[in-house]
Symmetry: C2
Subunit: 186 residues, 2 copies
């Protein structure tokens, strides 16, 4: 099939995760979930302390500000009436360094789980093009029994749930969460 | 009782809402809920688009940025396993102007309610020192039947739930939410 110059065949679209950021994939996945009325899950804005603002312009312009440490995780929302909460990280390594996640974020996810919500982390291993969902319970069980400062990919392969790539939804992590919910009600 | 100069008697602390911002009250209330393990509810950071950052300093400094329109409401979290979502506003008027809340925030709260969450607004009428919780369903029913561009305080008095001031928690809005949850399960 011939396309006018400048318009590329849709066949060249690559649905694999290579080159795409996990954040981008999660954003379009969450948009899709929202559009089909399946779930409402958002990424929280980065917390910033604004110290100087110029109000003289048409639009207020921040002229001085600093990044804060987030108090919670990046993503939360609702699916099937359940409160969902997670942190998402990418790594180029063959393991997930524990210093990639703040202690208070881990504590936050534990609290969520105690309160009846579903808390987890999503980790993408870029080297292997594999993305996993790991429940906070399994994350805690690792850090409580191991002294290592990182979680090897094999632990994710064993205890985590692989999230497959797709077109729409891009990374269907709620299909895994759905199994947790169905499992509960059996 | 005599106090050294500069230290005021604790008796002068005023527990009424006068002069305190609703945001402040909600923050310390949510902190209290979190500390006693009752709920995990947070205010989302203000969304900001950062356009210039100075990385030359010890701490990265934002030198240009702009305020974005929030996509959702300000507060969300979990209580008794339920997903909670709300927007909080103060007004000096005797009515709540509808342009105080964005259309997409209303739409968001409706979505939350459809998905099985508990969505509402909290409005403080500073003039009367009265703070109300109004369910999104009652908010929608007003804007669908009335053509006014504001909701009079009387509608809040009739359909809403007054949130009483206290010491700890400061404004115990979850006691009202609790009644919704208990009502559901009966």
């Amino acid at each position: 099939m011939k396309y006018p110059s400048g318009i590329k065949s849709k066949k060249t679209v690559n649905y694999s995760n290579r080159g795409m950021s996990l954040e981008y994939d999660l954003n379009i996945t969450n948009e899709y979930y929202l559009n089909i009325g399946k779930a409402s899950i958002y990424k929280k804005p980065t917390p910033i302390t604004v110290t100087k603002v110029d109000y003289k312009l048409k639009v207020a312009k921040i002229t001085e500000g600093f990044f804060d440490t987030p108090s919670t995780t990046d993503y939360n929302g609702i699916y099937k009436g359940k409160y969902i909460d997670f942190e998402a990280k990418e790594t180029k390594l063959e393991y997930f360094p524990l210093n990639n996640i703040h202690n208070h974020q881990i504590k936050h996810l534990v609290t969520i789980s105690k309160l009846g919500g579903i808390g987890f982390i999503i980790v993408r291993f870029n080297k292997f093009n594999e993305t996993y969902l790991l429940k906070i319970e399994d994350f805690i069980s690792f850090i409580e029994t191991e002294k290592r400062k990182s979680i090897p990919i094999n632990y994710f392969r064993e205890k985590g749930y692989i999230i497959k790539d797709g077109y729409n939804p891009r990374i269907d992590y709620l299909s895994i969460v759905n199994n947790f919910i169905e499992g509960e009600s059996v």
